[in-house]
């Protein structure tokens, strides 16, 4: 039987998005579903970006002090991010958005414009975000920037692959975050490599996966321009970048979980991060700056 590999690519969320669908269907038919998937990326970005003052999440700032009815998407993304904060005792904290701006992570990749929000930078925490799920509202107790970047790329992948539910064999990748389903074109489980955090092009470990997501968080990602050596993985309690881990890779049923949990484990540091992933019953590979590797549930 001839199997066809249909490959598509686009750019969204400041990264390249790639999908391969293995299907006998003609390309045009597959493409329709893929385009619906790509559309979710735009939707998620439009709602959740902190680089646009007009995005739904940024418009919350202007309504600080009172509950605001929000879209299901923002409600769910924020709920998940806050749960992550609670369960890491605030080591992961999505309210550090303004701090990130100050570190130089402030430029809209599409327009090149820099954002500077009129917000409280210090003394805000996830406890200043109150979500009423029944009412569908979010209340910011102080004007703050919610940074949902630890979860939204994964979320977009999960939504996109739902649009592709009729395809049994596919992989969907956005900037190194991956979801795979079924088998690759060779009829085998997908073979996923984990980038070595210190040696470009070197695979630190490889995994055979099906119907799972893999995301990696690393200290080598997205360094701020002009802020030497500071990565955007920050322990919210110490306000300093994490130093005892170079990268954390998480394998989970959803890309949202893999994305969020890899970031959370990264900020927790080696010991606590390992325990955290163990407790969450997800797979993890933690790599120290010296290259020492430890894995859990894999």
């Amino acid at each position: 039987m001839t199997r066809l590999v249909h490959a598509f690519a686009t750019i969204s969320m400041d990264t390249m998005v790639n999908v391969q669908v293995i299907s006998d269907q003609p390309r045009a038919q597959v493409e329709q579903a893929v385009q619906r998937g790509f559309a979710w990326f735009d939707t998620v970005e439009q709602i959740c970006t902190r680089f646009d003052p007009a995005s739904e999440v940024m418009r919350l700032i202007g309504s600080a002090g009172r509950p605001v009815r929000v879209s299901t998407l923002l409600l769910e993304a924020a709920t998940f991010a806050l749960s992550l904060a609670e369960q890491t005792d605030g080591a992961f904290d999505p309210t550090i958005g303004a701090r990130l701006e100050h570190m130089g992570f402030d430029t809209n990749y599409k327009t090149g414009q820099r954002v500077h929000s009129a917000t409280t930078v210090d003394r805000v925490s996830y406890r200043d975000v109150l979500i009423d799920r029944r009412a569908g509202t979010i209340l910011l107790r102080q004007p703050l920037v919610l940074d949902l970047n630890a979860v939204v790329k994964g979320l977009a992948i999960d939504l996109a692959v739902r649009e592709l539910h009729e395809y049994a064999n596919l992989c969907f990748e956005a900037g190194g975050d991956i979801y795979v389903r079924g088998r690759n074109a060779g009829g085998e489980a997908w073979h996923i490599g984990i980038q070595h955090p210190r040696v470009e092009g070197l695979i630190a470990r490889s995994l055979r996966l099906a119907d799972e997501a893999v995301c990696t968080s690393g200290d080598y990602e997205r360094r701020a321009p002009g802020v030497d050596g500071e990565s955007h993985i920050i322990d919210a309690r110490t306000r300093r970048p994490v130093t005892d881990l170079a990268s954390v890779t998480v394998v989970a049923p959803t890309a949202m979980a893999a994305d969020g949990l890899s970031t959370a484990a990264m900020v927790l540091g080696r010991e606590r991060g390992l325990r955290f992933l163990e407790d969450q019953a997800v797979g993890g590979v933690l790599i120290a700056p010296d290259g020492a590797m430890v894995s859990v549930n894999l």
Binding site: V5, A7, F8, T10, Q20, E45, Q46, D158, T254
Partner: protein
């Protein structure tokens, strides 16, 4: 004491998907970001054919000029690249594959306002890197190198597995 975050994420995704495309309407100020990403695609630059098969790895919106829309037949065991010239949407990358090896990579144009200087070093790197042992690589996203890494992965997706 941890609640299962994986389960929580799954129900979040389901809820959002069921709610459908609830797009935040472009508010009072500013253009919608979505319209920016969905820029109409202009026809690909004339590809330099170097081999028999042309398998475009492009995702073109319905309105775009139809590409030679052929899918790549997945041959059983051959690792490496199917001969041909590949392009991608938004950023046009041409990859020339000869005898199953990446011979040349050219970034031809971009319809987005990306710092293309960031990817100046890409072509050579991709050519060097062609011995990929895996389908995909999970990695943290680079900044100055972001595009480079991302584009090389796009190229990997043009693999005729």
């Amino acid at each position: 004491m941890h609640r299962g975050l994986a389960a929580l994420s799954a129900s979040a995704v389901a809820a959002i998907y069921l709610a459908g495309y609830v797009r935040t309407e472009p508010a009072d100020a500013g253009p919608s970001l979505a319209t920016e990403t969905r820029v109409a695609t202009t026809p690909a630059p004339t590809p330099t054919r170097v081999a028999s098969t042309a398998a475009p790895a492009r995702a073109a919106p319905a309105s775009a000029t139809p590409a030679p829309a052929t899918a790549t037949p997945a041959s059983q065991t051959t690792r490496g690249y199917k001969d041909g010239t590949y392009t991608g949407q938004d950023v046009w990358v041409q990859v020339q594959v000869m005898a199953g090896r990446i011979a040349n990579v050219t970034i031809t144009r971009s319809t987005l306002q990306y710092p293309l200087r960031d990817i100046a070093g890409l072509p050579q790197q991709v050519v060097q890197r062609q011995t990929a042992q895996v389908d995909l690589v999970s990695r943290a996203t680079y900044s100055s190198m972001a595009f480079r890494g991302a584009v090389s992965q796009a190229l990997a997706s043009a693999t005729a597995a």
